[in-house]
Symmetry: D2
Subunit: 294 residues, 4 copies
């Protein structure tokens, strides 16, 4: 297929490479030039401006946050100028509110739009092992399914309202953050009671919680190894705020999310915003003054 | 081995049966007679009183809570009268404080004591698939290892202070309760946003959280199927209070545990104390008045 | 003095009337016409558009929220077109972020700006008994002091950065909301223990907490009398979000504010958003299922 | 009247002195001898043992916690041996559960019992300005009313179940702790936003919250003056636990109390348990790393 791809961060770059690898033709754009060059070396065409990439059978957007989508696509009116035969596939983690706005503007403009955020970190993106959450017009999804197949291990369908895929993504990220908070609290308690957090976490990861999230974050917390970050804590705060906002839109209290948000602020106040978001566990340890015990 | 076994609830009965199956000789006692008769039919000897079962190479206690241990073993002074060649193995989920007291009294009496709580529900006990967390004098643990091998799939060691095994057990149960709370909040939010909680939970159980705890409780919550209970909500409250107490002993705040405790009280106030402890999810749904939405 | 006054809600109308009463000349504007007519009857001049009221020695703005300020003053560029001899006095409860932006735009435009939110409800406004929190250039404050004297019982000074007055206002409103939440929880507990909440609250209001906030809300909660609202619950949510946002700007967790926010969402989900914000107490009662007890 | 008085801490000593001053005859007992000697110098008679003070028209107990009541009165069986003509007036802050047990044991023994905890610190006790919360048999209360009049400024009645006075006391102390927590959070936020906490608190104490509790704790927090303690933080934790226990008995979640409990543990973990319980405000400041900001 002939497609545009805008937003080539750690995730986008790997996803675009897999699309090229699968034989698709890509016109790519990114704010900074380095990843563009890397993809051109793999066969992509560089777009001089976002508008030049908004054409073809599909356009994939993969930005870091709402602001980037607003500045690149919404404010310049690119959504309204997308060709009717092009399917816009937004794969970035954005707010439910912005996803709803994007859907409405595409609907008004008569162009096709699919919400398709993903689960998976850059290594999963590189291995084409992403889980893709897709929502939108079934015909539009069917048209871009070959692209999903080239980037992910499985596509999960969440109906025709595109923003619902974002609801699911945001709820999933909340579950991860909540799990990290709980792991931090539990490890702080066992430590203070004389059981090394690492021993406790090793048991958990191998018995009750033998799954990716607990293995990954249990290992990081056990080692106290928060740098370099796999996912920055400031982005964790962004994501938990997306969950709180999604809840607030529909009058749903999420007290665990509120608690996690406060722990993130505590971590950022203590200078840990650029560490891995698992550094939430250091907040639990600090509340207990573990570092000041002999 | 020649052993005593006191406390034959759903867990104890299955564990004792596996010991008989492995060729050990058991003298059993239980408050109510039915499980005693069932085990006698499998070859056990019935004890007329707890004291009569407190003899042999090991005595295993498997009660529902601190109170049962106090009334059966501590108040009658059985701990002090256990033979020096007998290893008392407490496998019940008890408070860290009581575990410490048991250890101290055995130490004072010169008798051997091992803390050995387990992870696994009755079906895992029946299948001899328990994870056994053992702490105490290594020589004493070595003597009872054949018993552990007959009841569990693996023994995890947590050092020489017997109460530390209970610390780990209590921390693990807290992690489960925290996961249930988070699942409930996330599902309430997705429901209100138009995504069926079941669809969301199905994704989670098959991707990020593909492990026993999330599969089990995700399935229960998705189906809204809280009766009959696998583990009663009132016992969940008991367990979260054990975690809070363990934290308080060593000055460790556990805000997620506090939050979960409050949700349990809410559930009990609404008449759900005898349901499965996953009914915590109904509290999240009620906070959002999901039941009152069309 | 010759002044403009824009925003004539319950508060603004009463404040403007006091200014007229004190002999000042007012040009007034409001989105809906009724309060304008009422003030014209008292001697004010009606402005056809906000711009027509942005002149004279001072312009007072008194809107319900950030959005109204943005739409009326910022988006049309009125801030930039205010005469250099005019002092803009914003007395509305707005976000710290918007207060900072207003200050910066006035500074850039070379015009004078004073932040001056108030404590007091419409009855206090009518009685010229407001407490006015003022921050900004001392010379500018001095010029509008006669206006403050006509509207309030006392002016409190918070330095030269105009947004700091808003910081104080937002923090104060948070304290009120937190007090209401605690009153609700305490009354729910005493009720369930057999002591009428009203009896308990009566004691508190007359002993430890013999002050306006507790008297006011204690009386409302004791009577369960949430309609008509003195201050709507949805506005309470708005205010607690201003506190959380002010905290987040400077990395300060406010866990009590988070908890109160979640209680507000619970109340709104249950249809109580238009009631008095003291209806927070019904959330505490519902968590305990008080209404379902005989 | 001829009365016994047991428990002569800072509160009890001042209350007993006022009773002597009013002309009553006191037989006093205390664990440590110094306060006994001081009261003997004022005309009291020393009792060699608690039993010797459990006689006369009334016996007042004023201990620091549940444990002291248990060890002094319950375990030695003094409750059962109190003369039928004696009214036992317990004025200590104890758990609702213990108050209920005391009432039941007196009822079974056929002796009179009144629950009468107080609001007021040692200075109020010395000035006979206590607020006394009384519950129990009206005839018994009437008999000891002259004693209340000698110790307090007003007696508040809470019906015939003696433990209900304790419910009210426990709920009131919770309100104080919740107010301190909120003051700490608000002051941390204003500080980080550039407004000295002291300035903010000064405003609050003189406007919205012009009452004893806010004045007292606002002043302490503004000055950061937590030593010597007026009321120790570890006792604050004890009191908040009484509130949580009272709620738990009747299935009432009190999330603010849970939050405050966790803050107390944080403070104690950081070595502040012996400071004034207003040091809760330092926890809010530490969460925001205020001490590490320039």
């Amino acid at each position: 297929m002939d497609i545009g791809f805008i937003g080539l961060g750690a995730m986008g770059k790997a996803m675009a490479a897999n699309l090229l690898q699968a034989g698709h033709r890509l016109t790519v754009w990114n704010r900074s030039p380095a990843p563009v060059e890397a993809l051109v070396a793999l066969g992509a065409t560089a777009a001089a401006a976002p508008a030049a990439a908004c054409r073809g059978e599909a356009v994939i957007s993969m930005f870091a946050d709402d602001r980037a989508i607003r500045e690149t696509l919404l404010e310049p009116g690119l959504v309204e100028r997308m060709p009717r035969e092009t399917v816009h596939v937004n794969m970035a983690t954005i707010s439910v509110a912005l996803a709803r706005e994007l859907a409405a503007r595409h609907r008004a403009a008569g162009s096709a739009y699919v919400g398709a955020p993903v689960f998976g970190r850059p290594d999963a993106a590189a291995a084409a092992k992403l889980h893709i959450l897709a929502a939108g017009d079934p015909a539009a999804i069917a048209r871009v399914q070959p692209l999903f197949d080239a980037m992910g291990q499985r596509t999960w369908s969440f109906g025709v309202e595109p923003e619902r895929a974002n609801v699911v993504k945001v709820a999933g990220n909340f579950l991860i953050a909540a799990a990290i908070e709980a792991l931090g609290e539990a490890a702080a308690m066992t430590e203070a009671q004389g059981v090394a957090g690492a021993e406790f976490l090793d048991l958990m990861m191998n018995t009750l919680f033998d799954c990716r999230v607990y293995r990954n974050y249990g290992t990081i917390i056990a080692a106290g190894n928060y740098e370099p970050p796999g996912f920055k804590l400031v982005l964790g705060l962004k994501d938990i705020k997306l969950a709180l906002a999604a809840g607030e839109e529909v009058d749903v209290p999420m007290p665990t999310a509120s608690l996690v948000r406060d722990s993130y602020l505590d971590a950022i106040a203590h200078g840990d915003g650029e560490k891995d978001w698992a550094a939430l566990a250091t907040v639990a340890a600090r509340r207990a003054a573990l570092g000041e015990r002999s």
